[in-house]
Amino acid sequence: MDDLKEELKRQLIEQLNLEEITPADIDDNTLLFSDKGLGLDSIDALELIVLLEKYHGIQVTKPEEGKEVFRSVNSMAEYIRKRQN
């Protein structure tokens, strides 16, 4: 199990107030912004930028940058590791 990904799932649920969802419901590849996945919207994207800064010390200055990063838990973890190295 990838600790960073599990941590991200818990942070996602808390930051976005996903009341009915548990970390187990989120697959590493679940599409966060697709209606077939979590169905998040542009307000959530901004909340995710806050999440990256708050928990991982990573700053995203343009919301557009987030598009690829926030595709899935996998892509978020990958981005965090890349930025931290």
Partner: protein, 321 residues
């Protein structure tokens, strides 16, 4: 006459989806709580997860009203709120002053007064007129007057309502500012469908309403309002009031002496709703519910002077079946 085709309230009383509730209500006591429905039944999860109390109450009541009235889309959505979305406002204010770095935007977005009306339009996909009135204790009456104006202009069905939410800070503020109250500060929401025409669904009619700010002579305004509507004091079956028309402690006596009617039933509706700026919307639902279930009641006057210099008046009349 304007017709109430549906009404929905979330409060301390068992009013939600419970016609006839006005027959079983009891004055609030310490520790009594809001009776919340299962919001999941009324609001889709994607919208619900971000919603504060005031938004949940407003969207659930609106949905319930439309269902009762059998109306898919109202012509307009009009909301009154005295203090708006306090939970989100305080949350963002707190974050802005304490968090270094990026701030979560959701509470800012939902701090604006028109979040209720906006969320209702979003949940319905409604493209009609969308308005939010906020004039402290007469916010609901102002919203109602707008809805009546829309009907005068030719619209058929207006979703009109009011909501306010309580936060802990309000209790501290009222204690600090020495604002006395027998019944506690709380939250509440009431929504209605106001229609141009009478139908099988009609609960009651609204003959007239008025909202006045910086009013000088409240008793004079009340008698003028009744005169204008050709209602004699002895036509009134009940007065629902808040605040005091003569500035004394005994609201009941004040009304009885003002209208020279010793046995006129007079009821302080805030004893049942608790205190919030738009509680007169609760009173309107209570009045309509009573008329629906006690056929002998023809005229109810709602008189709101919760804040002494503001006056809200609503004349509710029964509608013959």
């Amino acid at each position: 006459m304007y017709y109430i085709s549906a009404a929905s309230t979330i409060s301390h009383q068992p009013a939600f989806r419970n016609a006839g509730f006005s027959g079983v209500i009891e004055p609030l006591h310490a520790g009594s709580a809001l009776i919340n429905p299962d919001y999941k039944e009324y609001i889709e999860p994607g919208l619900l997860r971000r919603m504060s109390k005031i938004l949940r109450m407003s969207v659930a009541c609106s949905g319930d009203c439309l269902k009762q009235g059998g109306i898919e889309q109202p012509d307009a959505i009009v909301v009154g709120t005295g203090l708006g979305c306090l939970l989100d406002t305080e949350k963002f204010l707190n974050n802005a002053l304490t968090v270094k770095g990026l701030l979560p935007p959701t509470s800012f977005i939902q701090s604006t007064h028109n979040t209720m009306a906006g969320q209702i339009s979003l949940s319905l996909g409604n493209h009609g007129y969308n308005m939010t009135h906020t004039q402290n204790s007469i916010s609901f009456e102002n919203a109602l007057l707008d809805a009546m104006l829309l009907i005068d202009e030719g619209e058929k069905h207006i979703l009109v309502g009011a909501a306010d939410e309580h936060i802990a800070l309000l209790d501290e503020i009222s204690a600090q500012l020495n604002i006395q109250s027998d019944c506690g500060l709380t939250s509440g929401a009431s929504f209605f469908i106001l229609s141009a025409e009478k139908s099988d669904q009609t609960l009651a009619g609204i003959k007239d309403a008025e909202a006045l700010g910086l009013v000088k002579n409240i008793p004079e305004q009340i008698t003028a309002f009744l005169d204008r509507n050709n209602v004699n004091p002895d036509d009134l079956d009940l007065i629902l009031y808040a605040g005091s028309v003569a500035g004394t402690e005994d609201g009941e006596k004040d009304f009885q002496s003002l209208l020279k009617m010793k046995n006129l039933p007079v009821l302080d509706y805030m004893k049942y709703s608790g205190i919030y700026p738009t509680a007169s919307a609760f009173a309107l639902h209570m009045a309509a519910d009573q008329m629906q279930h006690t056929r002998s009641i023809k005229n109810i006057l709602i008189c709101n002077s919760l804040i002494q210099h503001n006056l809200g008046l609503i004349l509710v009349q029964s509608v013959e079946a």
